[in-house]
């Protein structure tokens, strides 16, 4: 995963596509939220946001 993130950062720098960062961050947060909502104690707090 670290390797992928490093390559993704290199890609953003090379292609000057920094505007993709907010989109990817939102997607990652959403992904994490879905992950947590299905298998953790924080689930009840996340439900209202999903």
């Amino acid at each position: 995963m670290i390797r992928l993130l490093r390559e993704f950062l290199r890609f953003l720098r090379q292609e000057k596509k920094w505007w993709l960062v907010p989109l990817v961050v939102i997607l990652l947060l959403l992904g994490l939220a879905i992950l947590f909502s299905s298998s953790s104690a924080v689930a009840p707090f996340l439900y209202p946001f999903l």
């Binding site: 995963m1 992928l4 993704f8 890609f11 292609e15 596509k17 989109l23």
Partner: protein, 608 residues
């Protein structure tokens, strides 16, 4: 010794290829082993088959080359969804999980799929069209050539013109998503009720039944063909993020109705649509080919990408294009990307992780007649057949060839499994069903009773290369069945010109009615003794018995099934279809002697 494993996966037709010191040692598609047509999953079975062919293990691999740049492709996907949002949210939600899994983190997918891979092994990534261009040029017989790759879409590019010189491939021009000839053809494929990424062949086969009555409408309102060879789609006609069809209401109004549902009735409008998009595609390709010639000044052309499987267009490029010679990668679709990626890595500079090896062209090419898959010995085959208690006899070569020729002459349909399996979508005589092309009933028999597929679909002839000119107006050899040519005038018979649509199917059009399409064309495979000695010998045996050096050659499978790989697959298909005789190596099996009426199939049938 340097061993490079090429992989294509995660879209459609995943495959593996193994290049050892620059030589293509093995290549195979995953679908042949997993028995799921167009299988897109990580090609672990195909990899195992390639490694077994070379007698090595995963730990012996020195580099892995993947046929795409996943981050770039992911970025294109994100940008497309963002550009069209909020439209396509459903498709976005469906697509995203696969991207956040193995498709994006290829390092993880490679580690999971290749247990035992040494940690120092380089993971190399070519772009999608670099892989296609490498597969088109590097194994070709040319020292220098123009290269044209055309498909649906890779990362961003949909069409690339490049120049190949020695081991170097220099990209010159590209067209970018969403302006794509492959997507355009696929949109019409889906609109006419066939499955995208596999039904394009059916649309091409349907085209000769129709008239190009919609061609002007396509040129005026759907795709603009420009004088410089480029083209632009009118995006107001398409719904590129739709779940089922790629087209929208405007497109449907333009062409007279909603999409044809799969298995719906085929009427003249669908045939006219097929013919119209075929004509426009050919014009677009000819424009691109002329542009490639202008830009490079080369005399030779190499083609790859899914659109290069359009053998009708290839025939026109050969006849009407400006190039002296053309060479088409037999695995022109995405499966060939595995081979291209591995070859590109072998020749790429060491700075890019490659071997930096020089190249000299091989004659007739470096593809070993596309016979790059696994082979089974007669003893292996016998063991597999005995599991089913199959009844077979072991014949010597002369007896086997004589009996097969006799069976074919008497109208029998023969399943023919020999040597190494083909790489690419076509069966070239090692995993084939063969029949007598002189029989007027054979097309219908083989379509409906043997392969259980649509009656309109044509069959291809395989012909002794040395006698091909007597039967077909073919200006060059066609070893990979990728060129369509007219049946020679001397073989043609007069037909009623007033017949239309499927009524033309029943007309006797030539002395080879089973392989002559309704427009008098044929998708020819030429065979030399060097390329495939066994098939050549069978054609010779049939010729000496009948005077005819031509056979029907169609892939050994039934509708929805991948082409057979092993003797077990072949036996099951033989039992479950209308094939009369099965020949596996030197083993001879007759249907009437078998203890089964049917056997469970091992493939997952896919809808069309």
């Amino acid at each position: 010794m340097r061993r490079i494993l090429g992989i294509s996966a995660f879209y459609h037709d995943s495959a593996a290829a193994l290049v050892v010191d620059g030589r293509v040692v093995a290549a195979a598609q995953e679908e042949r082993f997993s028995r799921r047509k167009n299988d897109a999953r990580f090609p672990r079975r195909a990899i195992a088959a390639c490694l077994a062919q070379a007698g090595i293990g995963v730990g012996d691999i020195d580099a892995v080359a993947f046929h795409e740049k996943p981050i770039l492709k992911f970025s294109r996907t994100l940008e497309t969804f963002l550009a069209l949002a909020p439209h396509g949210m459903k498709a976005f939600a469906r697509t995203l999980p696969s991207w956040l899994g193995e498709k994006l983190d290829l390092h993880k997918a490679l580690a999971a799929g290749l247990p035992g891979l040494r940690p120092d092994v380089a993971h190399l990534f070519t772009s999608h069209h670099e892989a296609h261009a490498a597969s088109a040029f590097l194994p070709s017989p040319f020292e220098r050539a123009a290269i044209l790759t055309v498909d649906g879409v890779g990362e961003w590019a949909t069409t690339v013109i490049a120049r190949g010189d020695g081991a170097r491939i220099e990209p010159l021009e590209e067209l970018r998503f969403p302006h794509s000839l492959g997507l355009l053809y696929s949109a019409f494929t889906a609109y006419c009720g066939f499955r995208v990424n596999s039904g394009e062949y059916k649309l091409m086969g349907l085209a000769p039944y129709g008239e190009p009555v919609f061609a002007d409408r396509i040129r005026d309102q759907v795709v603009e063909l420009r004088p410089d060879g480029s083209f632009r789609l009118d995006l107001s006609c398409f719904d590129l993020l739709a779940d089922d069809y790629l087209t929208n209401d405007r497109f449907h109004r333009l062409f007279g109705g909603p999409p044809r549902p799969p298995e719906g009735s085929l009427d003249q409008r669908h045939m006219d649509l097929a013919r119209s998009i075929q004509v426009v595609t050919e014009e677009a390709l000819l424009g691109l080919v002329r542009r490639a010639h202008e830009r490079t000044g080369e005399r030779n052309l190499c083609l790859a990408g899914g659109v290069a499987l359009n053998c009708v267009a290839n025939g026109r490029i050969l006849r009407e294009g400006p190039f002296d010679r053309i060479w088409i990668q037999p695995a022109a679709g995405d499966a060939g990307g595995a081979l291209g990626a591995a070859l590109a890595a072998w020749h790429a500079s060491t700075e890019r992780g490659g071997a930096g090896a020089p190249r000299s062209a091989t004659q007739p090419d470096a593809m070993s007649s596309a016979l790059l898959g696994p082979a089974w010995t007669d003893d292996d085959a016998a063991a597999a057949l005995q599991v089913h208690k199959a009844r077979f006899s072991r014949l010597d070569d002369a007896d086997l060839l004589g009996r097969t020729a006799t069976a074919l002459d008497s109208g029998k349909v023969v399943g023919w499994v020999q040597g190494r399996m083909e790489f690419g979508p076509r069966a070239l005589g090692n995993r084939s069903i063969l029949g007598d092309p002189r029989s007027p009933a054979m097309q219908s028999v083989m379509n409906l009773k043997v392969k259980f597929r649509e009656s309109f679909r044509p069959f291809a002839p395989v012909v002794l290369a040395e006698r091909a000119h007597e039967f077909f107006d073919l200006a060059a050899p066609s070893p990979y069945m990728l060129l369509v040519a007219q049946v020679a005038e001397s073989q043609r018979l007069p037909v009623d010109p007033t017949a239309t649509g499927l009524a033309r199917l029943k007309q006797l059009r030539s002395t080879l009615p089973a392989v002559t399409h309704v427009d008098g064309s044929a998708r020819v495979q030429t065979v030399t003794a060097e390329a495939n000695p066994r098939l050549h010998a069978l054609l010779r045996a049939f010729e000496s018995r009948t005077g005819c050096p031509v056979l029907i050659n169609t892939s050994f499978n039934v509708r929805g099934e991948p082409v057979v790989a092993s003797p077990d697959d072949a036996y099951r298909c033989f039992i479950n279809s209308g094939i009369d005789i099965l020949v596996v190596g030197n083993l001879w099996l007759e249907r009437s002697e078998q203890p089964h009426a049917s056997l469970p199939g091992t493939f997952e049938a896919l809808p069309d």
